[in-house]
């Protein structure tokens, strides 16, 4: 038959009569998106994403059903098409009710895949866990110890009883990795020949260096202090984060990726900023905020008044003030203030007073820090505010005069505002005053860069570029955004992406991918969950720890970590990484779907008022969530047209349509044969494979093509592999199966990683199976087989392999018999 010539986006393509535009485009590698097309079932045309324009036709045409005609001129990506696709996705998303990612990950400034690594720990895949963490956090041991963990604050397990100990689990994974003797170091791309200077070796600088190095750039970190780590090293006390044992080790790993670190080098003193700009293709300013700020009260310049971070730094540098037997007042309510209090206690202070103008409940410090400080004897002078620091005769601090406060009306932040109680004051006798109020930036040496009003480095929050071309900034030093370490790492990751593009001659803006979030959870939603409180971590008793700087908490052991990780509620969608709905939402810029917001078609099976199917979610292999369904009908059509079963169908009409099992019975009783092809074709998370053997984790996986071992048909499958575990199967388009599988091929893969699987050879010795080494076993087999073959010939031997071996193993097995032993007496017991 003659070929028909068509032009698709100006490209000449040829197709056969009867072929659709979509088919011809696919054959010619021209991308036309679609959510409801599948060549194995009849064209459906419901999604409308595949629309194209054809010259001479005023309408948008669905390419999945429009047949090609001679010399047709097709456009697949005009503004009108993009606009239609965008609104289409907006409408779909406006009716989507589900979480793409868990609140843990979404609330981590660095976007760490918390659910992912918690799940991996639950499954005992510690190596994979650290790899995943290190995609975002280069210093996980440090962050796991000191992070104020917004992930946990937002963890939904908190609605059940207590959040997952996400930070401690991170620390666990990092410690296991560090102690493994072979800690994980990411691979770097080939050298690009581009050079980047990073000013500052703190969390921001080190992390940016780490990410940029992975992209193949030569990175040099300039650090003014003798050691890297920034505030993690000099601002966090040893008892919370051991320096040599943890932080320095992690810095070394960064160095091992090829990052050059120059310590004791200050810009403007040892090398000029201008020189750096000349020498490097890009410069990143990550100098942090190292200036301690005061309250502005009288007497702040008195001898004996020390900035909080300056004090902590002096302790790390082993040049602390002598606090033994002294009275110390620490002003401030944040973690730095707590660090100062607890450090003062450890230095032998007689009384360590914490001065804070609100109550404990309003303190920004972590609750655990306050609690542990209290245990160690810190005296909390809440609802007091310094008025004056009064010097003694020799000019040193003698007293601190305090205004007594009370809580008034809430301010804009919702916290109740402290107001002075008229005429009520208090005076404490003190020898030192530590001011842990706030920090500021000292940008001395970084010349000719625009600064913020508060003297921070100003940069574009989307491109991270400063007023100077090729000079970038982030972390505490920029845009007056002094925050926690993980926030700096987030900046590092984002700016690295932008800098990388810049080094390749592109200017991009960092953009967070859009995700859908459910906000309708409350305690009631989890009432049916078993209460299981978090695993407490062992720690040193207060009286044992307050006299030294040893690390307070011990860390989880494997068993504790696994048990804790198993508490995860698995909020994020299991199909996030394969979901075409969210992919297209981002692709077509439909993130602003709020403008389409309206009622959602929600099926709440737990709702006692829900009238309908006696919802039974017990299907052994298929997990359903109609609230994520986009009504593409692929599952229904696959089940009906290809499998000839009809277990699933559309119920109701219009907006209320929902996919349900036939006759609204439980899916298992609907004639379903559990082939899972519905799951395989679902473009969203509405139908997912139920995972029972391990914790289901949404992860990016590697696909390994193989042949299903169960019968002789030879269905091609892709094993989904993460680390050393097979975590799922998806059908491949082999000649025998065209992307179709049966229940065995799709779901019965758990034997591969099953804990009962024999991994050690056994030999029956004196009637008892005894584990032996591989060498011994192989010798035993070889010896006996050789003997039989010599005595009775090769055909006296027959081999039979288990149904639960992979195709590759079967291949080797038969090869051994045919080529090695010389017999065709070999078979596989699951053969049809």
């Amino acid at each position: 038959m003659d070929k028909i010539r068509v032009l698709i986006d100006g490209k000449e393509c040829f197709g056969s009569p009867g072929q659709t535009i979509l088919e011809v485009a696919k054959e010619n590698d021209i991308f036309i998106p679609s959510l409801c097309y599948d060549k194995r079932v009849e064209a459906y045309g419901a999604c409308g994403i595949c629309v194209v324009e054809v010259a001479g036709n005023p309408k948008l045409l669905k390419s999945c059903s429009t047949e090609i005609e001679p010399d047709m001129a097709v456009r697949t990506n005009t503004e009108r098409i993009k606009e239609s696709r965008k609104t289409n996705m907006e409408l779909l998303m406006s009716d989507h009710h589900g979480d793409c990612k868990g609140p843990c990950s979404l609330n981590c400034p660095a976007g760490t895949d918390c659910q992912g690594y918690v799940g991996l720990i639950a499954n005992g895949q510690f190596e994979e866990a650290i790899k995943l963490i290190k995609e975002k956090i280069p210093l996980p041991g440090a962050i796991g110890r000191v992070c104020p963990h917004p992930c946990e604050t937002n963890c939904r397990r908190g609605l059940v009883e207590e959040p997952i100990s996400i930070a401690w689990l991170k620390r666990f994974a990092a410690d296991v990795d560090a102690e493994s003797g072979n800690p994980f170091i990411p691979e770097c791309e080939p050298d690009t020949g581009k050079k980047v200077a990073v000013i500052g070796g703190g969390p921001m600088g080190l992390s940016a260096a780490y990410f940029l190095r992975q992209k193949g750039h030569a990175v040099t970190v300039y650090e003014q202090m003798p050691y890297c780590g920034g505030m993690l090293r000099y601002g966090i006390p040893q008892y919370r984060l051991p320096k040599e044992e943890v932080l320095d080790q992690e810095v070394k790993l960064i160095e091992k990726t090829g990052v050059e670190i120059k310590v004791n080098t200050r810009i403007g003193r040892d090398i000029t900023f201008e020189e750096l700009k000349k020498k490097y293709d890009a410069v990143l300013v990550a100098i942090g905020a190292w200036v301690s700020t005061g309250t502005g009260c009288k007497g702040e310049d008195t001898e004996g008044v020390i900035g909080g971070i300056d004090f902590l730094q002096s302790v790390i540098n082993k040049t602390p003030p002598d606090l033994k037997g002294k009275n110390v007042a620490i002003v401030g309510g944040g973690n730095t203030a707590m660090d100062c209090c607890r450090t003062a206690v450890r230095l032998g202070a007689k009384n360590a007073y914490n001065i804070y103008r609100r109550t404990k409940a309003e303190m920004p410090a972590d609750e655990i820090e306050i609690l542990e400080g209290e245990e160690e004897g810190v005296i909390f002078k809440n609802l007091t505010n310094p008025i004056e620091i009064i010097p003694g005769e020799e000019g040193r601090v003698k007293q601190i005069h305090l205004q007594v406060m009370e809580l008034g009306e809430p301010d804009e932040s919702g916290r109740r505002k402290p107001v002075p109680v008229e005429g009520k004051t208090e005076t404490l006798d003190v020898d030192y005053v530590l001011l842990a109020i706030g920090q500021a930036v000292n940008s001395e040496g970084i010349k000719n860069i625009e600064l913020t009003r508060r003297k921070g480095i100003a940069y574009d929050p989307d491109t991270y570029m400063t007023s100077e071309e090729g000079v970038f900034a982030g972390g505490d030093c920029g845009n007056d955004k002094i925050s926690i370490a993980v926030e700096a790492m987030a900046d590092a990751n984002k700016s690295a992406e932008v800098i990388d593009a810049y080094l390749h001659g592109e200017k991009i803006k960092h953009q967070m991918p859009y995700v859908d979030i459910r906000d309708d959870f409350d305690e009631e939603a989890f009432e049916d969950r078993e209460r299981k409180f978090r695993k407490r971590m062992g720690q040193m008793e207060a009286n044992k720890r307050k006299g030294n700087f040893k690390e307070v908490v011990y860390g989880y052991d494997e068993e504790e970590a696994i048990e804790e990780a198993k508490r995860c509620l698995e909020c994020g969608c299991g199909n996030y990484f394969t979901c075409r709905l969210i992919e297209y939402t981002n692709l077509f810029g439909a993130s602003g779907h709020a403008r389409m917001a309206g009622k959602k078609n929600i099926y709440d099976f737990k709702d006692p008022d829900y009238k309908g199917e006696d919802y039974n979610d017990d299907h052994p292999y298929v997990l359903r969530d109609p609230n994520k369904c986009i009504h593409c009908g692929l599952c229904v059509r696959m089940c009906n047209e290809v499998m000839g079963i009809g277990a699933l169908a559309f119920v109701n009409r219009g907006f209320d349509t929902v996919v349900k099992p036939a006759l609204e019975r439980p899916l298992e009783e609907s004639g379903c044969v559990s082939c899972g092809n519905c799951v395989s074709v679902c473009p969203t998370g509405a139908l997912q494979a139920r995972v029972t053997q391990r914790k289901p984790i949404p992860l990016e996986v590697e696909l390994v093509r193989t042949t299903c071992p169960y019968c002789g048909v030879g269905c091609q499958i892709d094993l989904k592999v993460r680390g050393n575990q097979v975590v799922g199967v998806q059908p491949a388009f082999g000649a025998a199966n065209e992307g179709i599988l049966c229940v065995k091929g799709k779901f019965a893969y758990d034997f591969i990683g099953h804990e009962d699987r024999l991994k050690t050879p056994y030999i029956r010795k004196r009637g008892k199976l005894t584990p032996v080494s591989w060498d011994e076993a192989l010798d035993h087999i070889a010896e006996n087989i050789s003997k039989i073959r010599e005595e009775s010939g090769p055909d006296a031997i027959a081999g039979f392999s288990s149904a639960r071996v992979t195709n590759e193993e079967n291949y080797l097995f038969q090869k051994l018999f045919r080529a090695g032993i010389g017999t065709n007496n070999v078979d596989h017991c699951a053969r049809l």
Binding site: E42, A43, Y44, G45, A46, C47, G48, V51, K59, L60, K62, C64, S65, T66, E67, S84, T87, N88, L91, L92, S94, D95, R595, M596, G598, K599, I630, H631, G633, A649, F650, N652, R653, G654, F655, D656, T657
Partner: protein, 531 residues
């Protein structure tokens, strides 16, 4: 003498059966001889029902009595049947006669004239002659040529040339082909198909026979909605009668052409009026439209070539074959030939069915034929084409009703419903009302239709309750355009029409609602503002 009482659904609803009972009782009581009582279908003047026609022995119409409620029967019967004088008080008025006289009857030519339950009545009027002529004297190709000459376009709404559809089915090679008559008239306010089935079922059957012969089909299906029980009953009778006479079955008119018709009842989904959804429903599947191509003419019922025509379309066929296509083509406009039946409802003085040549203006229909607005009201707009149609304001009343002109206003001919509205109708509320209907009737297959119509409805609900937001009109327009563009079938493609046209012609009313929270028609009740 013959007393003929109109007993279509409209007549029955007005009490025609009681009227007939009264006549029967009176004639029996008075022992009046040589008087028979018969029934007929709807003549179209529903506002005059029950209508009683009294014919002389020579079949001359002697008197047409209107609004004959049972209490009037004695007086009329006494005067006319006993005294031989017409009971003038109850005769149809001159003015109301105009209603009928100004029309042009093609498809309704027998409605209200014959007893629909009698095949003899139909054959006496020349019925089945066209089918006989077609089968015995014409080649299928000639029939299609004749259809082409008539210029007839599909009356189901889309206005696709009938001959093209027939030809496409004819050209398919297949062992089996089907003809389906689409009687799933789901538009609220439209009752044309019902009246045709109730008033002249044989005309439709005959049209189907001719069509089947022309396209080469051996099997036919009548798909009638369950909400039309009387039509179903009369159709069942008619089919039996036609079979009995050999007009259906094997070797029709002694030829080698065989054809039978099965009657199937719809289950009430509006979308099943769409041909592919109708076919899916006939196959026992859910009534979801399928994407076209392939068209049913290529791959229809049970994947066989299938020709689907609307009832009114088929009702034209015997007339065309009997009189030649040119006669029909002489009526109407250049591109829209023949007549069209409209169902007039709402605030028109005279409501019912009217058949007029294509090209008649809306003004003629609403003011000359229907007599304008009742109760002294002032015309505001007419919703033309049912819930999927659009509203046409006063300044466009000169628009001739033909496919192109009506479409140009933003409305559609659709199934032929015309709802006349006066100043007491709020146009925003009307748009909300119709969209509520189409959104509920959306099958849910296409994203744009399923979610888009719902979002549009939500906006309209906001506007009519005083909770609208800035940009709501713009959002409505944007969604309307995209829903039209992105929907597979006629339902979604036309659902936004009432919204688009009301915004186009009555934007001020929208603004009143949004900005001033005011409904001039006094229909919308606004939630009291939060203090």
């Amino acid at each position: 003498m013959k007393v003929v009482i109109g007993q279509g659904s409209c007549g029955i609803a007005s009490g025609a059966q009681q009227t007939a009972g009264e006549f029967e009782r009176y004639i029996k009581e008075m022992n009046i001889r040589n008087v028979t009582i018969e029934k007929t279908g709807c003549i179209g003047a529903c506002f005059l029902e029950p209508i009683v026609d009294i014919y002389s022995a020579e079949e001359e119409l002697e008197g047409r009595y209107v609004n004959v409620f049972p209490e009037k029967v004695e007086e009329i019967a006494k005067a006319h049947l006993i005294c031989g004088k017409t009971a003038d008080t109850y005769l149809i008025s001159k003015e109301n006669e105009e209603y009928l006289n100004l029309q042009k009857r093609v498809v309704m030519r027998n409605c209200g004239q014959i007893n629909p339950e009698s095949i003899d009545d139909y054959t006496k009027k020349g019925g089945y002659k066209a089918a006989e002529k077609a089968v015995k004297e014409m080649q299928p190709e000639n029939i299609i040529d004749e259809m082409e000459a008539s210029g007839l376009r599909g009356r189901g709404g889309a206005g696709f040339p009938v001959w093209k559809k027939w030809k496409a089915t004819r050209e398919q090679e297949s062992d089996v082909k089907y003809v389906i008559c689409n009687g799933d008239e789901g538009d609220p306010g439209a009752f044309i198909d019902r009246a045709l089935l109730e008033g002249d079922p044989h005309n439709i059957i005959e049209g189907m026979i001719i069509c089947a012969y022309a396209v080469g089909a051996s099997s036919g299906i009548m798909y009638v909605r369950a909400e039309y029980p009387l039509a179903v009953e009369r159709l069942e009778k008619a089919l039996k009668q036609a079979e009995g006479k050999g007009f259906l079955g094997k070797n029709i008119f002694g030829s080698d052409f065989s054809f039978d018709i099965t009657l199937r009842i719809g289950a009430g989904a509006f979308v099943c009026g769409e041909e592919t959804a109708l076919i899916a429903s006939l196959e026992g599947q859910q009534g979801l439209p399928k994407i076209r191509p392939p068209y049913p003419s290529k791959r229809g019922y049970w994947k066989k070539p299938t020709n689907v025509n609307n009832i009114e379309t088929l009702a034209n066929v015997p007339y065309i074959i009997e009189n030649g296509g040119a006669l029909l083509a002489s009526m109407g406009t250049e591109k829209s030939k023949g007549t069209k039946v409209f169902a007039l409802a709402g605030k028109a003085k005279r409501g019912g069915l009217i058949e007029v040549p294509m090209g008649t203006t809306l003004k003629e229909i609403i003011f000359d034929i229907a007599g304008g607005i009742r109760d002294g009201g002032k015309f505001k707009a007419a919703q033309v084409g049912g819930p999927s149609g659009g509203c046409i304001p006063e300044e466009l009343l000169h628009t001739p009703v033909d496919y192109e002109s009506i479409t140009a206003t933003g409305a559609i001919i659709g199934s032929g419903g015309i709802i006349v509205m006066d100043e007491t109708t709020c146009m925003v509320d009307m748009a909300r009302y119709f969209l509520d209907f189409t959104a509920k009737e959306s099958c849910g297959k296409c994203n744009y239709c399923r979610i888009g119509t719902r979002r549009m409805l939500e906006i309209l609900e906001r506007i009519t309750t005083g909770t609208s937001k800035d940009g709501d009109i713009e959002m409505l327009n944007e969604l309307a355009e995209k829903v039209q563009d992105g929907s597979m079938c006629g339902l979604g493609q036309t659902a936004p029409n009432p919204v688009i046209t009301t915004i186009r012609y009555f934007r001020n009313e929208y603004k009143d609602h949004i900005v001033d929270r005011k409904c001039t028609a006094g229909v919308c009740k606004f939630e009291t503002a939060q203090q």
